[in-house]
């Protein structure tokens, strides 16, 4: 541990490399000028280890959340029901619709013209009073 800093010692102690008291004393001896500070910090590490113990969720909660998440995942990952049209077929549909619209409009114009023409002829053939 030669050349190590106080930060190195704290990490080594926390990670359990120097968990026993003898090793802690060795580390303290390495930094006689910081002995007081290091003693306090190593003591704090021991306290933190006691207070911040791992906790576990309640088994019922854990199981229920698992089931809910898997159900939600099924819902999300279910393939959507959409009709997939190929681009070629789609283009054909658009062109067909356009032609259909044009034919309808043209037929309407022709029908109107014929009706007007018929009406005009009838009015010309009618005997004048």
């Amino acid at each position: 541990m030669q050349g190590k800093t106080i930060a190195d010692v704290l990490i080594a102690y926390t990670d359990g490399v120097a968990a026993d008291a003898l090793k802690a004393e060795d580390y303290l001896a390495m930094f006689p000028e910081h002995r007081e500070e290091l003693t306090a910090l190593l003591g704090l590490v021991t306290q933190l280890r006691r207070v911040l113990r791992r906790v576990s969720p309640a088994p019922a909660y854990r199981a229920a959340l698992h089931d809910d998440l898997v159900a939600a995942a099924r819902q999300k990952m279910r393939p959507a029901l959409t009709i997939q049209e190929s681009p070629r077929r789609l283009r054909g549909l658009i062109i067909g619709a356009a032609i259909g619209s044009t034919v309808s409009v043209a037929a309407g114009i022709i029908a109107t013209a014929l009706l007007r023409r018929g009406a005009l002829q009838r009015s010309q053939e009618a005997p004048s009073p």
Binding site: A7, L44, R53, V55, H66, L69, K76
Partner: protein, 194 residues
């Protein structure tokens, strides 16, 4: 196949397979719950935030990209953001006191709950909660999860060296806060006794 490759394969499957997502949940639920529990101080909010973390993960897993860091780092980031929102919403409502948090955690079956700490333990926990969020996160990952500096660095997006010095500074800050608070309480007690 390494553990990282196993995890990467499981994450890839979880994008399309609900059961694989369930396995990912099982692998990580304890650590996320643990993190949420110590950051909120009570079982009810820890459960709520854990659920929300995994629902958010499910919603976004399609966009998750493996960048060489553990999947848990991504989950911790989601949990961290949700906890930050939780604190923000709570601070708008009122100041939270530790006794209230302890009361909220009582009545739940949790053998290692904060409520079971002795007075010194509660005092230390109260001091931890006054630290900046990133320092609280560091202590939780170090003590509750037992992670190395390299692993913590991956989760917090910092180098191993940065974690080492942050840890040192955190311990010094915590010790100073403890001394300051103890002195403050002694002074208050003396004033009441006088």
């Amino acid at each position: 196949m390494t553990m990282a490759e196993d995890e990467a394969a499981l994450v890839a499957r979880a994008k399309e397979d609900p059961e694989a997502f369930g396995k990912l949940y099982e692998l990580h639920v304890e650590r996320i719950y643990n993190y949420a529990y110590y950051r909120t101080g009570n079982v009810h909010d820890a459960e709520d935030l854990t659920s929300r973390t995994f629902y958010r993960a499910l919603r976004s897993i399609d966009r998750y990209q493996d960048q060489g860091v553990p999947f848990s780092a991504w989950l911790y980031r989601i949990a961290h953001n949700l906890v930050a929102n939780w604190h923000r919403d709570r601070s708008r409502r009122k100041v939270v006191i530790l006794d209230e948090l302890i009361a909220a955690s009582e009545g739940h079956a949790n053998p290692e709950s904060i409520a079971e700490l002795n007075a010194d333990g509660r005092f230390l926990y109260e001091m931890i909660r006054r630290l900046q969020p990133d320092r609280q996160q560091l202590l939780l990952l170090k003590f509750s999860e037992g992670l190395s500096n390299a692993e913590i660095g991956q989760i917090m997006g910092r180098s191993e060296g940065a974690i080492k010095s942050l840890y040192h500074r955190t311990l010094i800050t915590l010790r100073n806060e403890i001394l300051r608070e103890r002195n403050k309480r002694v002074t208050q007690q003396d004033a009441e006794d006088a």
